[in-house]
């Protein structure tokens, strides 16, 4: 156990060093997310003018949604799975397969490093924005809410990892897995509720999106935090997360098993 922690802790450490090495690209990435947050802040402030509620959200709830989305994105969507595509296509993955380390464990540790750095800076950004514009925030009244929120966020992290790990496996069969991956990310952001709460959509569309695994990544945890989920919605939300984790574990596992078999370490 201790040696396992040391092993993957070491991967975490070297990944953090690597991230620090790429400061510029990290800062650009953050600049992008800050821009998105400010754009949404401006957008919703305009819409809320003269109203106290919109799409069932109070003004403080809506702003908490937008800012909370920034933090949750950093926690859940931060990953290095683009690296997996590169490692498979260049054959570098061979070096992980011949060392006594599990590749999925290695990828998780590397992702964790990314999440730590992004989460830290997302908190900083939200804190600056809140104190600068005096944005009203909605804070949960019950500690149980916080607990449920944390649980759903952890499940969301696992779910997202499984999804992107499955998409990465496409690299075993094609050198052009970057395209599907890009589409996946675009659809993901939209369907997860990263651009707006799904309540804005027509009811029929909303129920489809709520069933898909994407909604349980951002929309569901944020709704718990805002105490907008009824006990029934809470239960079905958690069941949905667990169901998709089970399905994707199976899919990801078999995709990787097949992928590794098909793999002939490209590049000679």
């Amino acid at each position: 156990m201790i040696s396992l922690i040391r092993k993957y802790g070491s991967v975490l450490r070297i990944s953090l060093q690597q991230s620090i090495y790429y400061r510029a690209s990290f800062l650009m990435d953050r600049a992008r997310t800050i821009t998105i947050v400010f754009a949404f802040y401006a957008f919703w402030s305009t819409l809320f003018q003269g109203r106290s509620q919109l799409a069932g959200y109070s003004i403080s709830q809506m702003f908490t949604y937008v800012l909370g989305m920034n933090i949750l994105r950093s926690l859940i969507f931060s990953d290095k799975t683009w690296e997996i595509l590169r490692e498979i296509n260049t054959g570098r993955i061979s070096y992980y397969l011949i060392r006594p380390i599990s590749y999925i464990g290695y990828c998780s540790a590397r992702d964790l490093a990314d999440k730590i750095i992004h989460l830290f800076s997302a908190f900083l950004e939200v804190w600056i924005a809140v104190s600068l514009f005096n944005i009203p925030l909605y804070l949960p009244k019950s500690p149980v809410t916080l607990l449920a929120f944390l649980l759903s966020a952890v499940l969301a992290m696992i779910l997202y990892f499984l999804m992107s790990y499955a998409v990465s496996a496409l690299a075993f069969w094609t050198a052009e897995s970057g395209g599907p991956r890009f589409c996946f990310e675009l659809f993901l952001e939209f369907a997860a509720g990263a651009f707006f709460p799904l309540d804005v959509l027509p009811a029929s569309l909303k129920s489809i999106f709520e069933f898909l695994p994407f909604a349980s990544l951002l929309y569901f945890p944020l709704n718990i935090f805002l105490e907008r989920a009824s006990p029934a919605a809470l239960l079905s939300g958690f069941l949905n997360q667990i169901l998709w984790i089970a399905i994707l574990s199976f899919v990801t596992r078999s995709l990787w098993k097949r992928g590794l078999k098909a793999y002939c370490s490209e590049g000679g």
């Binding site: 040391r6 070297i14 090495y21 790429y22 061979s94 011949i98 060392r99 380390i101």
Partner: protein, 322 residues
């Protein structure tokens, strides 16, 4: 598609074996099979009693592979950081790690280099760091795929020297592939040659040169045009281009030919080289095909067994008389 078939060999503990063959012969495929990166569709193989593609931790800890064209070092960070990562991956205790690390750094003259980002290193420097990284856990079995590819002569020599020393010191078993005849010549007593996925020679290196490369290549250049007639009786002319020429000369008459050349031609430059490895392999292959079936078993017995046989019938493969 079959990349290798009917390939069977054993390698004993502590042996340093050269693995030769032209591009696409199946060398890399064999290494991938041995390292567990490929699943064999038929046949069996075992290293140190393990089946490689099961990727058991105990096996992986005793094994290492260096691929000349790839790196396991983290590109943007100093090599030392990857060393430390490997320490944890292979679970090497601190004191042992420190001792081995400083030994390797000293032997490979890596001192200031391990603290620089890997991408700032030259190809040769990187290769040295690569080797050090792969040897930190002191593997019992080491596969080297083209370790000297793209390196200058000085660096090639240093690496060869290091590999030979390492083999002597740790009694590790090393299998080395190369296009570079000098690598094999200086390092390996035993050599295996593979072509079109089949083992066509397995035996002493000295014998392969005597038997399959009886000639050397003599290249000359002169201060004035060399008439063809001057060379005709000395050997088989491979190329002739005004004031320079290349010819193939039987090994035993090289000194006589050189003497004649000095007498006949005002020489500017002269080199005597081995035939290119591809050429030797080609000849070995031709010879194998024309030879009658020989049942001679060339395999040396050893602890390390690697066997791969096609399911249907364990056919004896014709091997050249060494």
């Amino acid at each position: 598609m079959e990349a290798v078939r009917d390939l069977s060999f054993q390698i004993g503990k502590g042996e340093l074996v050269g693995f030769l063959g032209p591009n696409g012969a199946g060398k890399t495929t064999t290494l991938k099979l041995l390292s567990g990166l490929l699943y064999p569709t038929a046949g069996s193989l075992s290293i140190l009693g393990h089946v490689p593609f099961k990727r058991e931790t105990e096996f992986l800890k005793k094994f290492s592979m260096v691929m000349g064209q790839r790196t396991q070092l983290w590109w943007d960070l100093p090599a030392r950081e990857t060393f430390r990562l490997n320490q944890k991956i292979y679970e090497i205790p601190d004191p042992v790690f420190r001792k081995r690390e400083s030994e390797l750094i000293e032997l490979l003259e890596l001192e200031p280099l391990v603290n620089l980002p890997v991408k700032k290193l030259s190809l040769g420097e990187r290769m040295k760091a690569e080797l050090a990284c792969a040897l930190l856990h002191e593997p019992e079995v080491l596969l080297l795929d083209e370790p000297t590819l793209g390196l200058d002569l000085v660096m090639q020599k240093k690496l060869r020297h290091f590999i030979a020393e390492y083999n002597r010191r740790t009694q590790s078993t090393i299998l080395l592939t190369s296009h570079n005849m000098n690598d094999v010549q200086e390092l390996c007593k035993r050599v295996m040659i593979i072509d079109e996925g089949q083992l066509i020679y397995d035996g002493d290196f000295d014998r392969i040169i005597q038997h399959f490369a009886p000639d050397k290549v003599v290249a000359i250049s002169s201060s004035q045009p060399i008439p063809m007639e001057t060379l005709k009786d000395l050997g088989q002319i491979l190329s002739h281009n005004g004031a320079s020429a290349k010819m193939e000369v039987p090994r035993q008459s090289v000194s006589r030919v050189l003497e004649q050349l000095f007498k006949r031609i005002p020489l500017l430059d002269l080199t005597v080289e081995e035939l290119p490895i591809e050429e030797i392999v080609r000849r070995v292959f031709l010879r194998t095909r024309s030879q009658s079936q020989s049942q001679k078993n060339l395999f040396a017995p050893g602890e390390w067994e690697i066997q791969e046989q096609e399911k249907k019938g364990m056919r004896e493969r014709p091997l050249p008389e060494p």
